[in-house]
Amino acid sequence: MQYPWWYVPHLTAPMLIAVISVVHVLVSHYAVGGGLFLAVETAHAHKTGDRPYLDYLRGHARFFILLTVVFGAITGVGIWWTIGLTSPLATETLIRTFVFGWATEWVFFVVEIVSAFIFLYYWDRLPTRTHTIVGWIYAIAAYISLVLITGITAFMLNSGTWATRPGDDTFWMAFFNPQFLPQTVARTGGALLLSSLYVYLHASFFARDERLRNMIAARSARPALLGAILITAGGIAWYCQLPPSAAATLQSAAVLNLLTALIFALTIIVFFLIYVGPYRNPGWLSPGFAGSLCLFGIAAFSTGEFIRESIRKPFVVHNVVLGNQIAPTEVLTLKKSGFLQGGLWTRAFVKEHYPDVFSDRAIPPWHIVKMNPDTQRRDAAGPSPMAARNALAAGIQNERLLALPYKDRLKLGNVLFLHHCNDCHAADIGYSAVGPLLQGRPRDQVLARVERLDDNYFMPPWSGSHEEAILITDYLMTINPARPVGVRHFMKEQDQSREEDTE
């Protein structure tokens, strides 16, 4: 609540993380698995004195550096950039918890960069043994960086008892969270599998010698198959270690059911194709076959990442930061004081544009009147006793919000929507837009839904006052389209009688 919110129309700001991180993950796993491939295969080629293979590996190392050191490294920095802009509270919390995990990972990045360049630029210049050692230094450093970052991202999905049991809020409890081992196993498998697929694709284009191509296909098949097995084993353990909310989300959302089935299907397809292709028939490795295999692998990987991100709801960091950048510990306070009052930037906005709702701008309590939310007219009953009491307290007086003209209530409703909901929802058109989600619902249902937001366990609780719920409902009703025409034609008579009863 202490940071401004970045409004990205239609897409929502956090979706930028998804765009960058999926692209990054597809390269970063290759940075790890490809490093192992280069270390093992260069050692093998040196040992057997296979000159054509060494020449191929040199070309592959160049491709590897161009992809991982440039694109992989900068998209990795890009993730940092984006999470800081779109989830500042979560990022700050993670950095405070894991700063030395990240700092240690950075040391391994330095070792990776130096060893990768020496490995490539000193090819045929370093003694064979030294060259092989440098390749292994890269591979080990890259793998440790995978383990370190997995500890941090796994914490986001299941923080274990870190946030709930006193004394457990240590770095080590955070790092060795219940998801650490399953995700490390799965990501190790992912690195092995994905890098083999990239190797196949590269070799199908650049290894022109048939003997060489067949050898690469055969030698990379075993790590690829092992990778698929590790992904499956890690995936099962991952499922078993999901927090209950994530497991329930995975089971209940139809789209996630489909994606889970898809990821299993894709993994089986990739496993089968590797087995019958490179493993049993290395000669099949053509650009078309390798390209298809790579696309299947990328599709499986992207699906897995999407599922992993989707099921964290209602948290962005499990039990620590809610999806809308609120700490769970803040919720009760915000319900009492009001969401606008609780946020530094929302409070400043209200103070600038609506100073009259602040208690330091004296409005006598008896001037505060209740508004009828349906008619937008003033109630004759006058101020409530609660309103009178609130008016004397400091900061935004929630009762006064309802005394604002309708257009200002809509404006503040929009402020509330952007700061409370826009992390996951566009307004009327776009990613998971709220308008279509509420389409046709009457006002009382929308208001009830707002105030009992966490009746859906994957939604964060409503973190504002009752008056603010009314304001955001005002706004939501303006982006809530009418029920599609013709949907209830068979219930026309019942609807008419209900309307008559209401009147």
Binding site: V70, G84, V111, K411
Partner: protein
């Protein structure tokens, strides 16, 4: 108008996981380590491209050499930038995040510009590596576009970090670039008088670092591939380039300090315990230039150029320390960064330090192997 103090969080529920001095030290050290390679792509790339464009054979040779080295330089620079980025988000989060969110589209554009700039560097460098003297137009264009992008990136960084230091500018920029209170991410801090001299100051320092690199490269890496006339040219060119750096830095520095600092900041930096730091920062580029001229006559050239590069590291280091002190002074009305509570994670801290030392040893071993191989 909104009181900017309303926009800064004062109390953190959790203390900093490291002592404040530790964070300040690694932030300044990390920035200095990052600044050396960053300076080489910031001003050095432009200098190299201009030299390759010019008529001097030696100049063209140096330009080619630096451009061939550039992919490694950029990789190291980006990597070393992680440390200050990490520690700035740790101790200055309440200033860093709002400032960058206000200019989010420009801030994220840094990544979008950095990727093509880096590939542009590779395109140019690998063109030279293939032995071509005249490069295809697309490779030449890629190099120039990369140089332009790096300068734009530098300008964007200067924007973000100057905005972070000047909380007083937030309300106006925010209110001019918001939708229902949410930042549009389209604000730029161009109205801040400190932005321009800060940006120019870094470019001036970058020219000095490039000058130091010219002689270091000539004596350490180019010795076998070149004749003495090239090294003579290198020393002469480096002196001229450093002189330009000195004039540039002095002009931008005077503008920055006397044209944009508040009287309170000047009082703080020119009196009491901070006066020696301010004077040392002002004099450091002059000392760097003097060192370059003085050691040029030494017979032990390698040692001399190592001293020049180390001296330039000192110039950048003292500048980084001063920047940090000025930053802390500017932010003090909103939050005393140095007085934040701590809850030190000793175990992970030791893990990092041990890994850091081991990492340095591994890197040193690899460099020793390379040196042995080159010899």
């Amino acid at each position: 108008m909104i009181d900017p103090r309303m926009l800064v969080e004062h109390g953190q529920a959790v203390g900093l996981p490291a002592p404040v001095w530790f964070i300040q030290f690694f932030k300044a050290l990390g920035f200095t380590l990052h600044a050396v390679p960053m300076n080489l792509w910031y001003a050095g790339l432009l200098v190299a491209l201009l030299l390759r464009w010019g008529q001097s054979d030696h100049g063209r040779l140096f330009g080619s050499r630096l451009l061939r080295q550039m992919p490694v330089i950029v990789a190291l620079g980006v990597n070393l930038g992680v440390v200050p980025l990490l520690f700035i988000q740790l101790a200055y989060a309440m200033f860093f995040y709002p400032a960058t969110i206000l200019m989010a589209w420009f801030w994220i554009a840094i990544i979008a510009l950095l990727i093509p700039a880096y590939y542009g560097v590779y395109a140019y460098a690998w063109g030279i590596r293939n032995g071509a003297d005249r490069l295809p137009t697309w490779r030449t264009a890629a190099g120039w576009i990369a140089a332009l992008f790096f300068i734009v990136i530098g300008f964007t960084f200067a924007n973000g970090l100057s905005l972070m230091d000047h909380v007083g500018r937030w309300p106006k920029l925010w209110l001019a670039h918001q939708h229902a209170g949410a930042a549009l991410g389209t604000a730029l801090n161009v109205g801040d008088p400190t932005l321009w001299p800060r940006w120019l100051l870094m470019f001036g320092l970058a020219l000095g670092t490039t000058a130091a690199w010219v002689v270091f490269d000539a004596e350490w890496f180019a010795r076998r591939a070149t004749d003495p006339s090239y090294r003579r040219w290198a020393w002469g060119f480096a002196r001229k380039l450093y002189a330009l750096s000195l004039i540039w830095t002095a002009a931008a520095g005077v503008w920055y300090v006397f044209g944009t600092w508040s009287s309170e900041l000047r009082d703080t930096m020119f009196h009491g315990p901070l006066l020696p730091l301010t004077l040392a920062t002002a004099l450091a580029p002059g000392l760097g230039c003097t060192l370059l001229i003085a050691v040029g006559w030494m017979p032990a050239k390698r040692l001399a150029t190592a001293a020049v590069l180390l001296g330039q590291f000192g110039v950048l280091g003292i500048n980084a320390v001063s920047r940090q002190v000025v930053q802390n002074v500017n932010l003090k009305p909103y939050l005393d960064v140095l007085a934040q509570p701590t809850d030190v994670q000793w175990g992970p801290l030791v893990m990092f330090l041990v890994t850091f030392v081991i990492g340095l040893l591994v890197v040193a071993w690899m460099i020793a192997q390379v040196r042995k191989c080159d010899a």
